[in-house]
């Protein structure tokens, strides 16, 4: 068995281990990581400050390594390599022998030699521990400066902004992201991020950092041009340097300016030692992106098996979101190739910049720069990577699509070698092979090839290929909602709307077969409510509702229900609080504060629900729709009324928003929040739609989500007045209600929306479909026909018939048993229930 030791457990080191395990090569793997934790996702590091925990960033765990039989050690870095005895020795003096050694030691941030840069409020941005340090230094701070306007610098700026600091970026060069962007793209990026509140200072050479003894901030940076900048925290992100000290000490060949020299096999000057990732120097270059590092890892693993593949350099094209701004760079972004021709499109109104560089004969794409809109990136990258011949008028590739007929590069035009998923190195040929082997759906292809399971950037392209290939095979994509309707939810919505259908039976008669089921019935119930807003317990609708909608309460595990009255914006009077307490005591209910700033009363027996609600309605409460696929809560912070930092009255806005949209039935639940300032205490950026106050009005965020798969909301529009804000939300919500799939949250809807955020903006803001007025009217109709379902229900004896445990006796269900815990009732466990039932018997 081959004894392989991997030094370093960053993204590339981890990929090497995963690939080696998968390869089936008989190897004993030892991993030695210098950081105290196993590999994590460094690419999304700044999300740490947006609330992603270290666990969520993790790529693996100690337990997982143990399951794979990998001997892993963390927090004790390797100190030296003893090549003669083929052994590595750690800081703590432990030694590990190897047959093959893999160095994946990565890189460290470069801190320019500036006097004062060793101050404790000066930090770097590379590891989770660095983030912890930045967070600690930012406590009580107001201003933060990032030194370095490159890709990593802007990521760090995002981190500082997320920490609520006034953020500055100081760059030595004339522009931002000079490596990836040309002058025009760089200028547009600057314009966009300055609009987001980040102040950019270019052509600034920092000479000294001094402690600021009198001023309000801790530090003062002095620049060579005589100007200065006051700040509390400084983060250096001015480039990386390879961690090659181990190799130097072991007399391995290193580059003049650092980096462990490797060949096509990723072997160093010692053929038993490999180097991969950012510590390795190949062809005189360091590849500072994760995808090339992964290719190196794969090449290095293959050298141990029977089918070695060479590493031949890697494409450094990249697409990313910096501070929420889409940026893409492909190939020769600066147009340095001889005779190349550039086409540029720039629109300062919507802040989009696109440039393509083509060969002298106009046939090949050599490079591209995209700022503000990356929707063309995938197509352009395919042209570039596969040398596909460009259309006769290459400019049509980047012009706004209403300006001409934009030829989109169809899946059929791609060669089999075209890389579709660069995270997992899946080519179009791999996808076609998987489909040949019978994996004929998007989900099957994803699980078979792992395509689109990494960054997800290729999702749309992958779907396109799968759909095209299915069509070629004469297969139909089955999008039926269930066996009773050969339609999607969207199609059902249109059928119901256009045919003015008012009941499920009518829909089934006209468009379906059979009797319906627990999939199509609630979906139809929801569509009918979104369109006509009838009382959900009307006789013709009652059979469509899930139990939660039928009983206007949430069924819990023991068959009892929880009751959630609406507490709009989380604001409640003392008198109402007292009523909640009294009702809970009277009916022996467990009470808990929810995440949406309301109070949930658990353990209500079905027959008690009407009496409980009668008391609540009399005290002025309304139903909270916690049971429905409907608007739930609009969370708020106290805003400018109380808070020293608030700039708008967030509570009043939250109340208005919640009261406007309460009762709106939608494909899935909807959550919202309003924050009174950029500190964002209401966490609006994790909601389906979130509103954050600015000095000038409101910023609207859409399609965020907490839950199982958190998604940070997208900034949709800025500095809106009250009226425009509501108008946009009306349109946004109704467009979602119309077009989403059944049980599809706004976050997933957005991820699947062709054209994405930009398309949604066109529809909602620019009214590109000409339906804005209709969407608003539909919403106004819903708002105008709102009723509290509980009030209607308790006034209607016919509806109350169902709120009984037994139709033929008033007895209780003896299987519902509570025990006391921490002064409140809770459902008995199965074991407790058995014991208690025996005792009473």
């Amino acid at each position: 068995m081959l004894n392989v030791v991997v030094v370093g457990n960053g993204m590339v080191g981890h990929h090497y281990v995963a690939q080696l395990v998968d390869s089936g090569i008989d190897a004993k793997i030892t991993v030695i990581g210098g950081e105290p934790r196993p590999a994590y996702d460094r690419v999304h590091l700044s999300e740490f400050f947006a609330g992603r925990s270290p666990e969520e960033l993790a790529l693996t765990t100690r337990e997982h390594y143990a399951e794979l039989g990998v001997d892993a050690h963390f927090g004790d870095p390797v100190e030296r390599i003893d090549r003669d005895n083929k052994t590595v020795i750690t800081n703590a003096g432990r030694s590990f022998s190897y047959d093959k050694l893999v160095l994946a030691t990565g890189s460290y941030p470069f801190v320019p030699p500036i006097a004062g840069s060793d101050h404790q409020a000066c930090a770097v941005y590379r590891t989770i521990d660095d983030l912890g340090n930045i967070q600690a230094q930012s406590k009580g701070a107001k201003v933060g400066v990032v030194v370095g306007g490159g890709l990593l610098g802007l990521e760090a700026a995002n981190a500082l902004q997320n920490l609520g600091l006034e953020t500055h970026v100081v760059e030595f060069a004339p522009g931002l992201m000079g490596v990836q962007l040309d002058t025009g793209g760089s200028a547009m990026l600057r314009r966009k991020i300055e609009a987001l509140g980040v102040q950019v200072h270019t052509r600034k050479a920092t000479e000294v950092i001094e402690e600021n003894v009198q001023g309000e901030t801790r530090l003062e940076m002095k620049f060579a041009d005589g100007e200065s900048l006051a700040t509390d925290v400084i983060v250096f992100s001015a480039g990386i340097r390879p961690y090659d000290q181990l190799a130097r000490d072991a007399d391995l060949k290193v580059g003049e300016r650092g980096g462990i020299d490797v060949d096509y096999h990723c072997k160093t000057s010692d053929s038993d030692i490999f180097a991969i990732g950012e510590c390795a120097l190949f062809g005189g270059r360091i590849f500072g992106l994760v995808a090339p590092g992964y290719r190196m890892a794969e090449a290095a693993v293959s050298q141990l098996g029977n089918d070695p593949i060479p590493f031949q350099g890697a494409d450094m094209s990249t697409k990313l979101k910096l501070l929420g701004v889409d940026v893409g760079s492909i190939g020769d972004a600066h147009g340095k190739c001889e005779g190349s021709i550039a086409y540029t499109f720039s629109d300062e109104r919507i802040e989009i910049y696109k440039r393509i560089i083509v060969s002298a004969d106009g046939k090949k794409l050599l490079g591209a720069v995209l700022v503000g809109d990356c929707s063309d990136y995938d197509s352009l990258l395919q042209y570039f990577l596969n040398d596909i011949e460009l259309p006769a008028d290459p400019e049509t590739l980047i012009l706004p699509y209403n300006a001409g007929s934009a030829p989109t590069l169809g899946a059929a035009a791609l060669p089999a070698t075209a890389t579709i998923c660069s995270c997992h190195n899946v080519s179009k040929g791999d996808i076609v092979d998987a489909m040949e082997a019978g994996h004929c759906s998007l989900a099957a292809v994803k699980s078979e090839t792992a395509a689109s399971t990494g960054c997800g950037g290729c999702t749309a392209l992958l779907k396109n290929i799968v759909d095209t290939e299915m069509a070629e095979r004469g297969l139909e994509v089955d999008t039926s909602i269930c066996e009773h309707f050969a339609h999607t939810r969207q199609e059902l919505f249109h059928l119901i709307k256009v045919g003015s259908i008012k009941s499920f039976d009518e829909l089934l008669d006209k468009h379906g077969t059979g009797r319906g089921c627990d999939i199509c019935k609630p979906a139809t119930g929801s569509i009918l409510a979104s369109l006509w807003n009838d009382y959900v317990l009307e006789e013709k609708h009652v059979g469509l509702q899930d139990t939660n909608d039928t009983f206007l309460a949430n069924m819990q595990k023991n068959g009892t229900y929880s009751v959630v009255p609406r507490i709009a914006g989380g604001e409640i009077t003392p008198d109402k609080l007292i009523v909640l307490g009294q009702v809970a005591k009277k009916y022996n209910l467990y009470t808990k504060i929810t995440g949406g700033q309301r109070i949930d009363l658990f353990g209500a027996r079905v027959q008690h629900l009407p009496a409980i609600w009668k008391e609540l309605v009399e005290a002025g409460f309304e139903t909270g729709h916690a049971y429905g696929k409907a608007l739930r809560t609009v969370k708020s912070c106290v805003g400018s009324t109380w808070c020293r930092y608030g700039v708008q009255d967030s509570v009043a806005m939250a109340l208005y928003v919640e009261n406007r949209y309460k009762g709106l039935r939608s494909p899935h639940k909807l959550k919202s929040a309003v924050s009174g300032c950029t500190r964002e205490c209401a966490e609006a950026q994790s909601k389906d739609f979130g509103v954050i106050a600015t000095e000038n009005g409101w910023n609207l965020f859409v399609c965020g989500n907490g839950g199982m798969k958190p998604r940070h909301a997208d900034l949709f529009a800025t500095d809106l007045d009250d009226e425009t804000l509501i108008k946009y939300i009306d349109r946004f919500l109704m467009f979602y209600v119309r077009t989403a799939d059944r049980l599809q949250r706004t976050s997933v809807w957005m991820d699947n929306l062709e054209g994405g955020l930009d398309y949604l903006k066109q529809v909602v803001i620019e009214d590109s479909l000409g339906i804005a007025a209709e969407l608003e009217e539909q919403m106004n109709n819903i708002v105008g026909t709102y009723q509290c379902e509980w009030k209607t229900t308790i006034e209607d004896p016919e509806r109350l018939k169902r709120f009984v445990q037994f139709v033929n006796t008033d007895e209780d269900d003896e299987k519902i048993i509570f025990v006391q815990e921490r002064g409140q009732p809770r459902p008995a466990t199965e074991e407790e229930r058995q014991t208690l039932l025996k005792e009473t018997a």
């Binding site: 139990t547 039928t550 595990k557 068959g559 169902r802 009984v804 033929n808």
Partner: protein, 112 residues
């Protein structure tokens, strides 16, 4: 079930909820009654106890059909139970009792 089962009057037809269910009790048996006016027969009865969710809730599920079998979906974890037989479509070890019911004028009768 044989013909000499005792017939018990459970409730009135007007107590039933069209196209939906309600629970009745006989002794310590809890029975989920479903009233489907368009079907023949119109009334169905199975045990109310959901053996998977472990609660008396089946009467509160949604009624429909799967591959032509008339079923109720448990409101807790959505398994389907055949209203003609009490069989659980997803888990043969989780079948529930099934009862013979009939309408006699306005009376709902059950054979026990």
């Amino acid at each position: 079930m044989t013909q000499d089962n005792k017939l018990v009057a459970l409730c009135k037809q007007s107590d039933l909820i069209p196209n939906s269910g309600i629970c009745a009790r006989v002794g310590d048996q809890q029975i989920a009654l479903f009233y489907l006016p368009k079907e023949t027969p119109q009334v169905y009865a199975i045990g109310d106890w959901d053996p998977i969710g472990k609660a008396n809730v089946l009467s509160r599920g949604i009624v429909g059909d799967i591959d032509g079998r008339i079923v109720v979906a448990s409101p807790l974890y959505k398994q389907h139970f055949d209203l003609h037989t009490g069989d659980c479509l997803e888990d043969a070890t989780a079948n529930v009792p099934c009862y013979r019911v009939s309408l006699d004028g306005d009376q709902v009768l059950i054979a026990l």
